[in-house]
């Protein structure tokens, strides 16, 4: 298993959106209470050209959105299980795999829960305290080639992956808050 994890990590860390071979288009981000955010997305065929294009669009949209470290397909109004992540520049990041996109991703295991306050582009008026594993193992398929990879990561990248996988399952951070007084009005916008 550890060899698989090392191979998965190396594959993902070496991935760039150039592999997709298509230009991404910036898409508008939808906001709650849009139903697409509360509905589990459909599993996708990672080799489908439409999915490859959507992967490029997600990366392009993430790139132009200030502070955005991840974006799921349902956040651009498409109810499928696909997201991109890039936490490289975030100060709370320890392990990093650069920019990547995963299809049909699942959390295999999560441990060492930590609470932190999260915000989301699709819920612009609130932040909330959410407890999530700070060490996770995640599996998913790479768009284009369809290779299945499994990686282990920690700290902020682990939180970002769980947040995005929740999106693909139709869950917002609002569904995970730590208690009745764990939601706050947002005071500053990026």
């Amino acid at each position: 298993m550890s060899e698989d994890l090392a191979a998965g990590s190396a594959r993902l860390a070496g991935w760039t959106e150039d592999e997709l071979g298509v230009e991404g288009t910036v898409l508008p981000v939808v906001r709650a209470p849009d139903l697409v955010l509360s509905t589990r997305g459909a599993d996708v065929d990672p080799t489908d050209p439409d999915i490859v294009q959507l992967a490029a669009d997600l990366v392009a949209t993430m790139r132009v959105s200030p502070g955005c470290v991840g974006l799921a397909a349902n956040q651009v109004g498409v109810g499928v299980r696909l997201f991109c992540v890039d936490v490289t520049e975030h100060p709370k990041t320890r392990t990093r795999h650069g920019t990547f996109v995963l299809c049909n991703a699942e959390v295999v295991s999560a441990s060492r829960n930590e609470k932190a306050r999260e915000g989301c582009m699709s819920v612009p008026d609130f932040t909330g305290d959410v407890k999530r594993g700070s060490r996770v193992t995640v599996t998913g398929a790479i768009p284009g080639t369809g290779e299945q990879v499994t990686i282990a990561t920690d700290a902020f990248e682990a939180r970002a992956l769980q947040h995005e996988i929740d999106h693909t399952d139709g869950l917002l951070f609002l569904d995970r808050v730590a208690g009745a007084h764990a939601i706050y009005p947002r005071q500053t916008y990026l």
Binding site: G67, C68, V69, G70, H90, K92, A116, R117, E118, G119, C120, M121, T127, F156, R159, A160, H163, E164, F173, H181, Y184, P185, R186, Q187, T188, Y189, L190
Partner: protein, 174 residues
């Protein structure tokens, strides 16, 4: 529809069903609950809510009168105006104060916050045995240096013999 906003407070002896009965009375008048908070203070029920709609205060009081019929719940209804939203530009902080119980802890510490122009947006205090605990969220104006804020609060806490820590609110955008 009228845009009148009403504040409703319900205070008193706790029992199951208070929230259900209160909200049913408001829903029956077509009122929309826009904001609310409820907690138990030493086992006493305490709820405040803001609701909007065309009913007037008298109608709301009449609808909620059965709740207060037992004599152990106080209900108040009054009109309120829309307040402007949070002003951006400052910074958000979480303040924790704890120590041996004595009168004056809250006033000493929050007085220091007010002196620096800080605005408390959320506050909880609890007493368990001899341990007194205060947790607050503050908005601090842009011109106040974090070091001055921290030093002022620590000094205030020392004056009443408790410990205070303050840390910035950090919301991670995902």
């Amino acid at each position: 529809m009228s845009t009148a906003l009403h504040a409703v407070t319900v205070l008193g002896h706790d029992r199951p069903g208070i929230i259900a009965e209160t909200t049913a009375g408001l829903a029956g008048l077509g009122l929309n609950i826009e904001d609310s908070t409820m907690t138990l203070l030493r086992g006493h029920f305490a709820m405040m809510l803001l609701c909007r709609g065309s009913a007037d205060e008298g109608q709301i009081e009449a609808a909620l009168a059965p709740l207060a019929a037992g004599g152990d719940l106080d209900i108040a209804v009054r009109p309120v105006l829309d307040e402007p939203g949070h002003a951006a530009g400052g910074s958000g902080w979480v303040l924790t104060v704890h120590g041996g119980d004595r009168p004056g802890i809250v006033s000493e510490v929050v007085g220091q916050v007010a002196e620096l122009g800080g605005n408390i947006t959320d506050l909880t205090t609890r007493l368990a045995g001899d341990l007194y605990l205060l947790v607050a969220e503050l908005d601090v104006p842009a011109g106040v240096a974090p070091a001055a804020l921290e030093a002022g609060i620590r000094a205030a806490a020392e004056r009443v013999g408790v410990t205070a820590t303050i840390r910035p609110v950090e919301a991670d955008e995902l």
